[in-house]
Every structure is written in C-alpha cells, then in structure tokens.
C-alpha cells in the first residue's frame, strides 16, 4: 500500500546561462493518491504534469519539500531505506550493465537488497520462469532489444519480492507483443496468486490505463485533479468516452480560458 499526501516539489533553475540568480519552477504542486494492495493504480497525465517527479520522490530519489509518503505505513521521509526495501522500482531510466549477463545484473540488485547469493540465484530462476526470459539469463545485456531490457529491468525490480511496485511509463518503446506480455505480468502480480501487490504506474497512454488500471489518478500541472475508476471518471467528465472525459478533467483551465476568449 502506498499513500501519498499533498506532495510538493520545486526546482531552482538559473534565469539565463549568465546570471547566477535562480527562479523556482514548481514540478509537483499538490499531488495525493492512495494505492491499495491487489490493485493497479495509474497516474495519468500529459507530458510534464509531474508524474515522473512524483514517482521519483516515492522511490527516494528526491526529497519532497512538503507532504507525506507512506509505504506500508513506513514513513518514507523518515526511514527511506526501510521504505525502499518494500518497494520495487522500474524507473524511467532502465540502464543495465552491458558487460554483465542478465543474471548477474539481477543478482547484483538482489545482494544490494540484502539477499544471500544462493537465495538470489534461486529467485532469479523463478522470476525467469514467470517472465519467460530463461533464454536471456546467461547472455550479456549488450545487444538486448527493448523488450528484453524491459524484462530484465522488471526482474531486477521484483527480485526481493516487494509488496509494492512502482513503474514509470513501463510500455515506453515496447512493441505490441512485449506490451501484451507486460500487461499480463502486471495483472498476474496484483492478483491473489501473484501476491496481491500494490502496483503504481504512470502513463500518458489512454488505452493502456483504460485496460489495466483499477484506479486512475489524473495529474495535471502538478496537481491531482481527479481520481476514481475509469467508469467514475467518465461519469464525472460527463462523457461516455474516456479520452474525452480525461481531456475535460485534465485541461479544465485551458478549456475555460478558450471558452472565455471565444
């Protein structure tokens, strides 16, 4: 379970390349959501809405200025390492080590998560079975395709069997087959047989969120503007089509401004 309350984060940017004085750019203004176990929660929003920054704060890569993050009731700001042990993170950057084999890449993270080596190797074999990547394990990751990279990175994020999983734009760069395989894996992971994990994913692709997510959180301009199931959001937007409803909810300001101008 992941609970995020009123997160706020701004960056200081230099005004120009010459001057030293900076201006604050608000990346995340006020984002809150509650992701339950056994559900897939989707953060949906346009590019630059603050989805990646929000997930980075949950993953302990950035410190929020305000707000609260709780992972299974562990305060992530106070005990970041305890929270990280309960999290699997598939970040936007999926860098693998090209001179190591897929197995070595995954075992490295297992050991960093505090597992013993033998235990780690057993876990890698089990994951390879589940993710259908046994043929990849002993190969160096140098020439891997996007789909193969994705599988390796996902196995790496799942190696310590975390109760919570964060995925930032997981389908970026994947073809149809890989996307379908990933979708099935995620659905399995949040089912009771797969461990009823709490999964949070960000995306800007409508169809995907519509197909996968039990709960959708719409983020726009660094704020949570709406949340609920796809059906609830369509109802709130007053549109039968999810895309139309999303545009209405996410771009309320712009639509209002356009209306005023017209």
């Amino acid at each position: 379970m992941i609970r995020v309350e009123h997160l706020h984060k701004s960056f200081s940017m230099p005004r120009s390349w010459r001057s030293r004085d900076t201006r604050a750019v608000v990346a995340v203004d006020d984002v809150s959501f509650h992701a339950r176990n056994g559900q897939i929660t989707g953060l949906l929003g346009p590019n630059g809405a603050g989805k990646t920054t929000t997930l980075r704060m949950v993953a302990g890569l950035m410190t929020p200025e305000r707000g609260e993050i709780r992972v299974d009731e562990v305060d992530a700001r106070r005990e970041p390492r305890r929270a990280l042990a309960r999290l699997g993170v598939l970040s936007d950057a999926r860098g693998l080590y090209p001179r190591l084999s897929a197995r070595e890449n995954i075992v490295y993270y297992a050991v960093l998560q505090g597992m013993a080596r033998e235990q780690a190797h057993e876990r890698v074999d089990a994951l390879a079975q589940a993710l259908d990547m046994r043929g990849l394990l002993e190969r160096r990751t140098d020439g891997f395709s996007q789909g193969e990279r994705m599988k390796t990175a996902l196995a790496r994020a799942l190696v310590h069997d975390p109760a919570n999983l964060i995925l930032d734009e997981p389908t970026n760069g994947l073809d149809v087959l890989s996307t379908r395989a990933l979708r099935e894996t995620l659905l399995h992971l949040c089912s009771p047989q797969g461990g009823a994990k709490c999964i949070v994913m960000s995306s800007h692709v409508m169809q995907e969120v519509e197909k996968l997510c039990d709960e959708v959180v719409i983020v726009s301009h660094g704020r949570t503007v709406a949340h609920g199931t796809v059906a609830q959001l369509c109802e709130r937007g007053g549109e039968p089509d999810f895309e139309e409803a999303f545009v209405k909810l996410a771009f309320a300001q712009e639509l209002a401004a356009q209306g005023a101008a017209a």
């Binding site: 980075r56 993953a59 302990g60 890569l61 950035m62 970041p80 390492r81 305890r82 990280l84 042990a85 999290l87 993170v89 598939l90 970040s91 936007d92 950057a93 999926r94 860098g95 693998l96 080590y97 090209p98 001179r99 190591l100 070595e104 490295y108 993270y109 050991v111 960093l112 998560q113 505090g114 990175a153 790496r156 994020a157």
Partner: protein, 387 residues
Amino acid sequence: MKGALAVFAKELIDALRDRRTLLTVLLSSVLMGPLVLVLLSGLIASLETRAERRVMVASGLEHAPDLRNYIERQGYTLEEAPADYEALLRASRLGEPVVVVPDDFAAQRDRGDAPRITVVSDSSNRQAEAGTSRVLRVLDGYNRERGALTLALRGVPPALLAGVDVQEVDLASVRSRATQFTSMLPFFVLMAVLYGALHAALDTTTGERERGSLEPLLTNPVAPTALVLGKWGAVAAVAMLIALLSVCSFLPAQMLIQSETLRSMFTFGAREALAFLAVLLPLAAALSALLMAVAIRCKTFKEAQANNTVVILAVSLLPLVALFNQSGDKPWFMWVPALAQYTLMNRVLRAETLSAMDVGVPALVSVLLAVACLAFVAQRLRGAAVR
C-alpha cells in the same frame, strides 16, 4: 558494509571484463617505462662506443704535421672532413665536430703568430656537441705541450707553468649518476597509475549516469556512502594493480639493458620495487577518488574526460617543479601529491633510504584527499542520478 562489498565485487568484475580498455592501458602505460629504459640503454651504449672509437674529423691537417703527430699520439684515428661538413653538421648527419686548420698554418707559425684553429660544431647537433669538449681538451693538451717544449728549450722548468695542480673528484656515486638518465622512470609509473584509474573512475560515475543505471541503483536500500566506497574500492584496486604491474615490469626490463654501464648503475630489485609500491599505493587510492569527484560533476562521459584532463595535466606537470628546482628537494615537496611521490621514487633510485616520515607525510595527504573527494561524491550521487 555488505552493500559496499557487493558494489566492489560488481565494479571490479565490470572493469576487468572491459578487456579492450584494459589491454590498451596495459600496453600504453605499463610497457612505456621499460621501453624507455631499453631505448635509453641503447643510446648510452652508442655514446659509449663512440667514446671508445676515438675518432677525430679534421680538415687541412696536412698543413700542421706536428698537430697530426700529437693527435695520433693520443690514440685518435684521424678522418678527413667531407667538403660540405658545415651543411652536414647543421643537418645532424655528421656526428663529430670538425677541426679546421688554415692553409698558412706553417707560415703564421714561422712569423711567430699564433695560428687560429677552428673547431666547427652545431650546438643543436647533440652528437657533435658531445664530442666538442673532447676535441677541445686534446687541442688544449697540444697547446700546453708546445708551450712546455718552447720553455724547456730556453731552460725554464715545466713545473713553473702549472701554478696549481688541478684534480677532478666526482662525488656522485655510481647510482646517483644513473639517475640523470633514469629520473624520468617514476614519471612513467605515475602516468600509468593515472591512466589505469581514469577509465574505471569515469565508468563508475559518469558512465553509470549516462547509461541510466545510476537512478535504478539508488532505489536499492543502500546508503550512498556504501555505494561510493564500493565503487572507489574497485577503481583504486584497478589503479593499484596497474601500479603493481608497472613497477614489476622494470624487473625483467633490466635484463634487456644493453649498456654495461647503465646496467651496473641501475639496480632495481625487490627492495626498490617494495619502496616504490609503498610510495605509490596511497597515491593510487587518492587519485582514484579525485578522478571520481571530478567526474561526478559532469553530465556526460565526454565532459568528464575533458575535465579530468586537468587532473592528468597537474599530475604530469608537478614533477617538473622538482626538475626545474635547481636548489634541490624542498621539505614542502612532501606535502604535494604526485610531486612527493616523484621525489621519493627518485630517491629510491639513488639508493637513499626513506624514513617513516618520508613515506608517512605523503600517505597522510593522500588519505585526506581521498576522504574529502569521497565525501563529495557521496553527497553529489543522488543529485547526479536524476538531473
């Protein structure tokens, strides 16, 4: 601590699997020192044979038979100078200075004048220049003999001519004379260590960032300090390995030395190798940390390489301070990294013993430098991952 060990093991495997880079480093830096040593011995050997050959090149010597007689009595073989000797000397194609005797040598002598003998050389022609002082000494000897003979004919004892008896005593030991030639060897060792650490240091910092693997790495519950310690351990281990190899490469290189003189002067045994390592290993650790600290600030591998050129330049220029400083080693040399190690290694080559203080002060400076750099890297690591 367990995390640091896991990082150390992984980074070390990663660095050792980078065969091509490792091979280039080994070939370029580890073989450089011994190669220079062998070339140097070739040069000295050729100088020695030239000195043994005792040849003098002259033009117009037929006008001065008694000079010819004197030179031959000194055991020199005379060679007639080629007609275009000036051009040949300028082009460094003639390796001996030329003694030019004027046509009217005998006539001038008969008139009671001192005939002028010219020694033609080119100071940019190293080989010819090396022979000049030898030729001048022979001509000086001839002058003195002539004078002594003339005075003896008039009944003056030759001892009157020598107001003082001058004798030259060279205080330099055989080995300290060798350091004239071998003082550049520590420099090559320093460079080998630096280049050995460079690629690993960049790969574990900027490389990791550029590959996009730093961000996922930091989502593991491991303290940044532990990550940095593991990475630094691996980089330092590679640097130390290169240091060990480059120092040990001098042991077999000695066998290849042609010049007997250099071989007797340049002794590099187990004792010297151990002293070199005692001096080098702390520096290898400190330089690894420094390279990482410079690299972590940079966004790309390329930028990090450019920035670390400054470090490389500093390490290669600092030994010049010792070289240009005519008044000998200064106590403050020991407090400057690279300069201290260069000075100490040269002392080892001169067969001087190093005190605990000599080794301790530079080691302390290295430890402080490493700690400061690692603290900086640990502090910047998270910011580097997401920017």
